[in-house]
């Protein structure tokens, strides 16, 4: 007999998605991670648009990862036109992406995921018993948004980071204020690690995972030019198509990716697992102390890894600001470069994992073809794999299974708005 279980609408995630599990007796017949979010055709609408306006448009794919999209977009354009940035620009961008991680992870770890572990429907209900935790979390998130506002112009969909530099450099006073705020919230970031290390993770979804993350160089971070894969392979960002083989399914406006035919995972767990030896300071200490919480076979440990990243992000943010302040801030012009026909590809780590932008330009600098691959689109196949494993291992009430599946999916911190982007089929 066939039995169909569903979660109609996932909550506490960005965007609209659901789950379907079909059993034939005790056998799992089919699983689906449904994406209902409407399509927005970004790759198609940016065609013929001049490069200078592209980041303003593509960052609007996603609100919570707006700076990741903007930086991925700017990077792809700069790779096409061989733009060489100033050291100040590089530092400001590094600070900006760390700010993005703080606002996004603070929201997800404390406001969206924590209620699952403490048994509340949301952070507001949670605040009745845990008012300090919620207030602290809001403060931590505010620190991330302060970085956005100071460097990018506002919390969501800023505009100040441009191709070849920043339109207006932040002042030393503004950066000092941000630093003060980061120092104030450092304990809140550490508390997130304390909280999540204490939670026993469900193990129903345990299975092998192929992990992918950017190679950040010597220091843990989110920008780089190569991608690392479980097992030690390393690919230049230009080869991203080898890593993300996209396919269209009727149940989803998000295309699903596979690597060598297997699903894979991107996000905080892959970043920590593949790059933990590059962590410094308190984040490094905390990793060593709790490395057993980082389980590459259990995607639910993604929450703990986000908490660990929060500690890194806050510390690294302070460090970058110190460097900027000791160098002294210059009001720099955007660097000059020559526009020509060409192609640029760029990978960055968004809060939810690897993000690729790939553009081709005509000799006026207008887009002729674009391809954007978001982290949640890459994770979709792995999420379905986890659902299948959980359904196969499950004994007991159906409702409990569906609740556990929802918690598992939430741990990926899916950004369904982002996943609906689209690629032109070859």
């Amino acid at each position: 007999m066939t039995r169909r279980l569903t979660v109609d609408m996932l909550t506490r995630v960005e965007g609209h998605g659901g789950v379907e599990v079909v059993f034939d007796g005790s056998e799992v017949k089919d699983v689906k991670f449904n994406v209902f979010e409407g399509p927005r055709f970004f790759e198609s609408i940016i065609k013929t648009v001049h490069y200078d306006k592209i980041p303003d448009m593509t960052r609007r794919i996603c609100a919570i990862c707006t700076a990741s999209h903007s930086l991925a977009s700017i990077g792809a354009i700069e790779n096409a036109f061989n733009v060489k940035n100033t050291p100040q620009t590089e530092l400001l961008r590094d600070l900006l992406i760390h700010g993005e991680m703080i606002e996004s992870h603070a929201l997800h770890v404390y406001m969206l995921a924590l209620p699952d572990f403490l048994g509340y429907p949301d952070a507001i209900a949670m605040s009745a018993d845990h008012i300090d935790a919620v207030k602290n979390a809001l403060n931590l998130k505010k620190a991330g948004n302060m970085i956005h506002t100071t460097l990018s112009g506002r919390d969501v969909h800023g505009m100040n980071e441009r191709v070849g530099g920043f339109s207006k450099a932040p002042t030393e006073e503004e950066l000092t204020e941000v630093k003060k705020m980061l120092e104030e919230v450092q304990p809140v970031a550490e508390l997130a690690v304390e909280l999540f290390k204490g939670f026993e993770l469900p193990t129903l979804n345990e299975s092998d995972n192929v992990l992918m993350a950017i190679d950040p160089g010597d220091r843990f971070g989110y920008l780089g030019t190569h991608v690392l894969v479980t097992g030690g392979e390393r690919y230049p960002e230009e080869d991203y198509m080898k890593l993300t083989n996209e396919k269209v399914y009727r149940h989803s406006y998000a295309k699903h990716s596979t690597y060598n035919g297997d699903p894979f995972m991107v996000g905080a767990l892959p970043r920590i697992q593949l790059n933990h030896d590059k962590l410094m300071g308190t984040a490094r200490e905390l990793y060593k102390e709790h490395s057993d919480m980082v389980d590459p076979r259990n995607t639910l440990s993604n929450n703990f890894c986000q908490a660990l990243e929060l500690v890194h992000d806050v510390e690294r943010g302070v460090e970058v600001i110190d460097t900027l302040l000791s160098n002294g801030l210059e009001e720099e012009d955007q660097v000059e470069f020559e526009v020509h026909e060409g192609r640029g590809r760029n990978a960055v780590e968004a809060p939810r994992g690897l993000l690729y932008h790939d553009y081709r330009f005509d000799d006026n600098g207008c887009i002729t073809k674009a391809n954007i691959i978001t982290p949640t689109a890459q994770n979709a196949a792995n999420i379905e794999k986890d659902i299948r494993v959980m359904a196969s291992n499950h004994v007991g009430e159906d409702a409990e299974l569906m609740k556990n599946i929802e918690v598992m999916i939430r741990a990926y911190d899916p950004c369904i708005s982002c996943s609906v982007h689209l690629v032109r089929l070859r």
Binding site: M9, T11, R12, V13, E14, G15, H16, F36, G38, P39, R40, F41, E43, S44, I45, V49, H50, K53, D56, M57, R60, C62, A63, I64, T66, E103, L107, M111, L112, P115, P121, D122, A123, I124, A125, S127, L138, N139, K141, K142, N145, G153, R154, D155, V156, H157, M159, N160, R162, S167, K168, V248, R250, Y253, K255, S417, C418, L422, R424, L425
Partner: protein, 255 residues
């Protein structure tokens, strides 16, 4: 009794409801004055029944969106189009004048008509009566708080009836069209952002949508033509956030 409030999203980036979560200093105070019956991004709690004020972000881009919007309208006393996608149709409406949804699905997904339930993206007002607009991509936090406070006091929220140019001049920012020849849309875009982009030396890209009356734009349009921007370029820029803006909206010299 506290007013019953729903926060809903259709197709978009969820940035407008994120702005509610971004009110870090005001959020807890704010929610103490209202009863939230639906907030998919922020909560698993959900209630049926009538709604006093519904905030709806996103555009109508699928048949599912259209049905959802109709249901929200039926149960809501006041429906607010929340953000640029809801008010104007958003960035996904930019190319509505170029080709059908079937062609686009074929091009981007490589699928035949009927494979998905997608339709051309439209603003909420295309399908239902909208009581209040809160524009912006994303909405301004202060404007949103002001709107909620006004409603709590039984007033209608204030509406900006003048363009960004006015705020820019009040701030005494140098004009980016005159000074650096940038294609700034400030003269025709609704104010309320305090001219943030010109303040950073950047041209307004129009994320708050067109001002109610665009008369007076003829001079501006000609200025842009004189700076060497083509009509196609300017229309493309306007369409990014101003939905299905018609060519005659530009007025002015059509050379």
């Amino acid at each position: 009794m506290k007013p019953r409030v729903g926060i809903f999203s259709l197709t978009g980036c969820a940035g407008d409801q994120l702005q509610i979560l971004n009110m870090e200093d005001e959020l807890l105070e704010l929610v103490s004055h209202i009863h939230i019956v639906d907030f998919q991004e922020g909560s698993s709690h959900k209630e049926e029944g009538p709604i006093d004020v519904a905030f709806v972000e996103g555009s109508v881009s699928t048949e599912t969106d259209r049905k959802h919007l109709k249901e929200i309208r039926e149960r809501s006393k006041i429906l607010i189009a929340f953000g640029n996608c809801a008010v104007e149709g958003g960035i996904q409406t930019m190319r509505n004048n170029e080709g059908s949804i079937d062609e686009r699905l074929k091009e981007v997904y490589g699928v035949e008509p009927g494979f998905f339930d997608a339709r051309l993206s439209k603003p909420l007002s295309e399908y239902v009566d909208v009581d209040i607009d809160i524009p912006g991509c994303p909405v301004e936090k202060e404007e949103t708080i002001r709107a909620i406070t006004s409603l709590l006091h039984g007033d209608l929220p204030p509406r900006f009836t003048y363009p960004v140019c006015v705020e820019c001049k009040l701030n005494e920012y140098p004009c980016v069209i005159v000074e650096s020849g940038k294609p700034c849309l400030g003269p025709v875009i609704r104010a309320g952002c305090d001219a943030r982009c010109p303040g950073l030396g950047l041209d307004c890209i129009g994320c708050r949508g067109p001002v109610d009356s665009a008369s007076g734009f003829a001079a501006e349009y000609n200025m842009l033509l004189e700076k060497g921007y083509s009509k196609e370029f300017i229309l493309n820029r306007l369409r990014v956030f101003s939905g299905e803006v018609k060519e005659d909206f530009l007025g002015g010299d059509q050379r």
